[in-house]
Each structure stands twice: as C-alpha cells, then as structure tokens.
Amino acid sequence: MQLEHFLILSALLFAIGFALVVTRKNSIVVLMGIELIFNAANLNLIAFNRYDPHLFQGLAFSLFVIVIAACEVAIALAIILNIYKRFQTINLDRINQMNG
C-alpha cells in the first residue's frame, strides 16, 4: 500500500466532501460533506504519520481533529435545531432572510 494511494484516496474524499457541501441543500448533508473533508485531512495525517520517527505527531494531530470535529458537529446540530424551529426547514436556500 503506497503512500500515494492514500493521498489519492484522501484527495477523492476531499473532492467528494466539497461536492457534497456545494450541491446538497440539506444542511445536515452539508455537514456530512464537511466531515468527509476532515477525514480526508486525517487520512493524510495518519498516512504521513507512518513515516514519523516518533509515530506520534500526525496521530496526535488527527486525534485533536476528531475531537474538534465532534465539537463542531455538536454545535452545528444545536444551531440547526434552532433553525429548524424558526424556519421549519433546514434547506439552506430557504434560510435566507439577509440578502444583499
């Protein structure tokens, strides 16, 4: 398993994550896309970590990334819930009071 293949897979996940973020109207799916992007980065970190003499920098980094992703999702969902209460939708196109 070459490093390159991990990198390419991560690039794929990155691109798909982007595509999801951009094309999906449902904010939860957008959130999933963002998670894909984070995972892409994580995959990179771990893939490079394999060569790290201490085997730790990438690992630690990815650990924190996972933690922060969790925080992010929690906050996002809290906000989305509020939005849903107010707008009765989580379609991003409809959440558009401010314009200009």
């Binding site: 982007f18 951009v22 991003l92 196109d93 558009n96 200009g100």
Partner: protein, 657 residues
C-alpha cells in the same frame, strides 16, 4: 513748484466734481457747478499751454507696481504740446457740451448721474491724453470705454440704449484686446511702456515685432475709432443722449484711436502703415456711402463721423499724422457743432411735442423740414458746421481734408500701387461728403414742413442761450480762419507749426488737391441738390429760388445723367452697402454673438454631460459594480463556496502553468 503741475489741475477738478455728485444726489441744481468746473479747467489748460516749450516733458514718474529690482510699472504724465492741446480741446468741447446739457437735460430725473458721468468721461479722456506710457493709456482707454458705456446706456429703462451700450462696450473690448496684446508685445520686447523711452528703444527689435505691435495698435484704434470692420457700434451708440454723442462719439472718444495712432507713429513699420491706410480709406468710403441713405439725423452724422475718422486713420497710415491730428481737431469742432445742432433740433421738436402732446420720432429727418425759419441761430451755425464737414473752402474742414488728400497723392506718387487706390478712394469720399450732408440739410432745413411737423409748428419756441451759445462757438471754430491765416492753405496754419509737426512740403500736390477737392465738393453739393430737389418737384422751385443753390444751375445737363446712372447707382450702392452692413457685418457681429451664446450653451452641455458627466458616470458605474458584487453576495453560502473553489482552482491552475 513746477508750473506744469497746473496741467494736472483740470483733471483733478473734473474728477472731484464728478465724484461729488455721489453726495449731491438730492441737489439737482448744482449741475451748473460742473459746467463751471470744466470751463475753468479749460482756461487753466489753455493758460498752461501758452508757456509750454516745444520739448516733451514727463511729470510724476511714479512706481505704480514694483515687481522686483529694476522691474516696475510706472505711472507718469506726459506733457507736450500735442497732449496739452488735445486736453484743451477736450475740455473746451466738454465745457460746451456741459453747457448745452444744462438745458437739454434739465428735466431728466437722472440729471446728476448724467453730469457725473460726463465729468468722469472727461477725466478719463484727459487721463488718456496725458499718460506718459502705454499702460496708463490703456487704463484710461478702458475707462473711457466704460464711461461711454454708461453714457450710451444712460436711459436704461429703454431696451435699445442698453443693447447699444453693451454692443459698444463689447466691440470696444475687441479693440482693447488688441491694445492689450500690443502692451504685452511691448513689455516682453522692450521691458518698458514709456512712450518717450520707446522712441529710443524701438529700433532694437526686429521687423515682425514692430509690425505686430503696429497691427495690434491698429486693432485697438479700429475698435475705439469705429473703423472698418468694427464700426457699426457707433450708429447704434446714438441711442444715448445727444450731448453725449456730440462729446464722445464725435469729438473726443472716437478720436482716441486716432490719437493713439498719432502717438505711436514711431512704432509703425511700413507694412503696418499700409494696413492702417487701407483700413482708414475703406472706412472712409463705407461710412460715406452709408451716410447717404439714413433717415435718422444722428445716424447720418454717426456714419459721417465714421467716414471722417477713416480719413484720419488713413492720414496716419499715409505718414501724415500731422494732417490727421489737424483733421481730428477741425472735425471735433464741426462735428460737435453738428451733433449739438442735431440735438438742438431734436430738443426743439421734443419740447414742442411735450407741450402739444403729439408724438413722433424727433430724430427722423423725414419728419422735419423748413427748420431754417424756426431757429435762425441754429440754422446758421448748422450750415457753417456742415460746410466745414463738406470741406468747402474757407471752412476748417477744407484745410484739414486737403492736408490728408495731398498726403495721399504724395504717397500715391511715391509708392504707387495700393496707395493710388487709396488716394482715389479718398477723393471719392470727399465727393460723397457734401452729398450726404447736403441731403441732411435739405431734409431738415430746406424741405417744406413735413405733415407731422406742421401739427406742432406753432409750439416750437426758439432755443435758450445755453443751447445756442455752444452752437455759435462751435460754428465759429469751424471757420478756416480760426486755424489758418490763409484760410485755404493749411501750410500757414499756426496750429501745425505750434505742434511742431513736420509737414511734407508738397506744393504742387497741395494745389492740385485744393483744386480737385473744391471741384469735388461743389460737384457733390450740386449732385445732392439735384437728387433731392428732383425727387420732390413740389419744393424744387423754392429751392431753386434760394440764392445758395443758384451757382449750380449751369450744371443742369448733368441732371438726366445723374438721374439715370449716378443716382440709382449711388442709391443702389448705398443700399447695397447698407444691406452689407446690416445683413453681413452687423449680422455677422450679431451672429457671432448669437453663435457665441450657442457655443456657450454647447460648452455648458459638454461641461454638464461630459466633464461632470464622466464623474457621474463613474459614480453610477461604481454603484452598478457594487450591485453586481452585491449579487455575488446573495447570501447563498453554497454559491460562495463555489466561488471560493473557483478562485482556488484558478490560483492552482495558475501555479501549474
């Protein structure tokens, strides 16, 4: 104390009296004071001229503006015989006009303003004459124009005087610009404005400079002295009160241009002189022809003034500035006399109209006739002045015109070419002069009463001494004997020798001229007589009976000729020129003014739409751009991310390539 200081006195007195009217607005009767002041001024001036040496001297060389070491603009007074004589002349005529006006304007509500302005004008004119340098000459030159503007527009409630005054000022302004450019040329080439210094300096510069200075000075004179092609303000300026016309538009202001040319004689190159004489003779001819067909008494005189001024300018161009100044002086007297006479006529009719409650145009000669019996003094003095104008021997006009014409013949002999043509035109004009003045006289004095006049004839009362005295004095001054002991030979004129001019001695030309001009004048008078008599059979006989016309009876065979060729031709030519003047030159000026206003509007539009518009376009565009960016800011977060992606891609593609 230098007794030359006396010279300053009149001008200061005049200025003071003029300004004092600001405070005397309520006290209208004090206007007589200003007459007295001007009269005293005249005597002072005359007195100081008596002791004057022949050398020019400069008084009061003062720094007006200091611009650095050795760089200053001065104020100074030049005293020589010419200037002092001119001063006396101006004061004299001004005095007479003042006197005349006390009566003529006695009922006008703006009487003090009138006298204040007259005084101010006289002051400016004196300043112009006494200035030792071109700068102050220019200053007073403009002030003269300014006071003339105010005087023409004296009756400001009527639209036509105001329009005329504006026209006069603007056209004068063109001449002023010429003078200003001349000033700049002089300053940049010589670094001095002083007339006396320039005499020494002038040779230090090239021919072109001199010529351009000359041309610019000519332009100045064209504007001020109503020369071709800028002469049509002068007839319009007759909208002003008649005394003003007499003072300004006959004797003094219009002569300022000639004075400028005479003063600057040393600055003219031969090319400039040719230009001057061409302009002069053209003006003389056109003015003369135009005068033929006018009906407004003042306009006839105005055109005649233009014609005579043309003579003077021509004289300068022919190198006979002496003759020109001579003509200037004689013309001043007889033309002032004529104008005041015309004023007297108008005044008579006007007063009569007032008392009889009939109204017609008191300036139209067709409404007159038979006036000779109404006011004898007026008639006689008017006749004398007319004779002066026509150039009858024994009258002043003969002497001066003779001088100019003989100079033209001399030049024609010397240089030939264009000068011959100039000479011919000069003589032709001499022929025209008696024709139009004869016509005027006939209409005003000899013709039977016009219907309109008949209605108010009884109301006409003879003029008061305040009006008659100036007329008589001026008529006296139009006699040749006043200027020359030998009233048919200008060489013996004490005036010329006193002024120190060096008259070209050309005896044979002089004789020829004298003969020719006498012939021409007589021919002219006769023609005039024939024309106007034949036209109106009813009064022909009465005219024939008059002794004055008997001398031309034997020229009767010319009658048919005149009728068939000369008269229609002349009339057609006259109306042609009039048409040309009205339709082309005058219109051209009008069109120029109109087109300037149109151009101004176009420019204003350009200013609004293009200069300012580009700024507004910019602000509009920036608003639009803002809108476009705002649309990008649609609030749609995913579109934004696409944008981010797009730009990231762009950067990366850039990096890849």
């Amino acid at each position: 104390m230098d007794k030359n200081l006396l010279i300053l006195l009149p001008s200061l007195m005049v200025l003071a009296s003029s300004l004092s009217f600001i405070f005397l607005r309520k006290h209208k009767k004090y206007v007589i004071v200003s007459t007295i002041v001007v009269g005293t001024g005249f005597f002072i001036s005359l007195f100081s001229s008596v002791n004057l040496g022949s050398e020019a001297s400069i008084l009061y060389q003062l720094d007006w503006i200091k611009l650095g070491e050795g760089l200053h603009l001065d104020f100074g007074i030049l005293v020589d015989r010419l200037s002092i004589f001119m001063c006396s002349l101006v004061l004299f005529i001004s005095f007479l006009v003042h006197m005349f006006s006390t009566e003529y304007m006695k009922d006008d509500p703006g009487k003090n303003r009138f006298f204040a302005l007259l005084g101010f004008f006289t002051f400016s004119m004196l300043g112009l004459l006494l200035s030792s340098n071109y700068l102050f000459l220019f200053v007073f030159w403009e002030l003269v124009g300014f006071s003339s503007y105010l005087l023409i527009g004296f009756w400001w409630k009527k639209p036509s005087p105001i329009r005329a005054s504006k026209k006069a000022f603007l056209i004068n302004r063109i001449g002023d610009i010429g003078l200003l450019i001349a000033l700049m040329l002089i300053w940049s080439n010589y670094g001095s404005f002083s007339i006396t210094e320039l005499v020494d300096l002038r040779s230090s510069n090239g021919f072109t400079v001199i010529t351009s200075i000359g041309i610019c000075l000519l332009i100045a004179a064209i504007g001020k002295s109503a020369q071709f092609p800028l002469f049509n303000w002068l007839p319009d300026a007759m909208e002003g009160p008649t005394p003003v016309s007499a003072l300004i538009h006959a004797a003094t202001m219009v002569a300022a241009g000639v004075y400028l040319l005479v003063r600057s004689e040393f600055l003219f190159s031969s090319d400039a002189l040719t230009a001057i004489s061409v302009i002069g003779c053209t003006t003389a001819l056109l003015g003369g022809i135009s005068a033929l067909s006018q009906y407004d008494i003042k306009k006839i005189l105005a055109y005649s003034t233009i014609s005579q001024l043309g003579y003077m300018v021509m004289g300068v161009g022919l190198g006979a500035s002496c003759a020109s100044s001579f003509h200037l002086i004689t013309h001043a007297f007889f033309k002032a006399g004529l104008f005041l006479g015309a004023g007297a006529v108008i005044h008579l009719l006007h007063e009569a109209q007032k008392s009889s409650d009939k109204h017609f145009d008191p300036q139209d000669i067709r409404n007159m006739g038979g006036m000779k019996s109404l006011d004898k003094t007026l008639f006689i003095s008017f006749m004398i002045c007319s004779a002066g104008l026509a150039g009858l021997p024994l009258f002043s006009g003969f002497l001066s015109k003779d001088a100019i014409l003989s100079a033209s013949l001399l030049s024609a002999e010397r240089f030939g070419g264009i000068y011959s043509a100039i000479s011919v035109i000069g003589f032709l004009t001499a022929l025209l002069t008696p024709i139009y003045i004869g016509r005027l006289l006939w209409y005003v004095f000899f013709k039977e009463y016009s219907e309109k006049l008949l209605e108010i004839k009884d109301k006409i009362i003879s003029n008061t001494p305040a009006i008659q005295l100036p007329l008589v004095v001026l008529a006296f001054c139009s006699l040749g004997i006043v200027f020359s002991l030998n009233p048919i030979d200008y060489h013996s004129s004490f005036f010329i020798s006193w002024l120190g001019f060096n008259m070209n001695s050309s005896e044979e030309w002089h004789n020829l001229t004298s003969v020719l001009s006498v012939v021409l004048v007589l021919l002219g008078i006769f023609t005039s007589y024939l024309i106007y008599q034949k036209n109106l059979d009813a009064i022909k006989k009465r005219l024939k009976a008059s002794s004055f016309y008997q001398i031309s009876v034997n020229a009767f065979f010319l009658d048919s000729l005149t009728h068939k060729i000369t008269v229609p031709g002349l009339l057609r030519l006259s109306s042609g020129v009039k048409y040309l003047d009205k339709r082309v030159i005058d219109r051209a000026v009008d069109y120029l003014a109109v087109s300037q206003v149109i151009l101004a509007h176009v420019i204003a539009l350009v200013d609004y739409w293009i200069v300012d518009g580009s700024i507004r376009l910019l602000s509009y565009l920036s608003g639009r751009i803002g809108k476009r960016f705002g649309n990008m800011q649609s609030g749609n977060i995913q579109k934004h991310i696409i944008w981010v992606l797009f730009f990231t891609l762009l950067v990366m593609l850039l990096l890849l390539s």
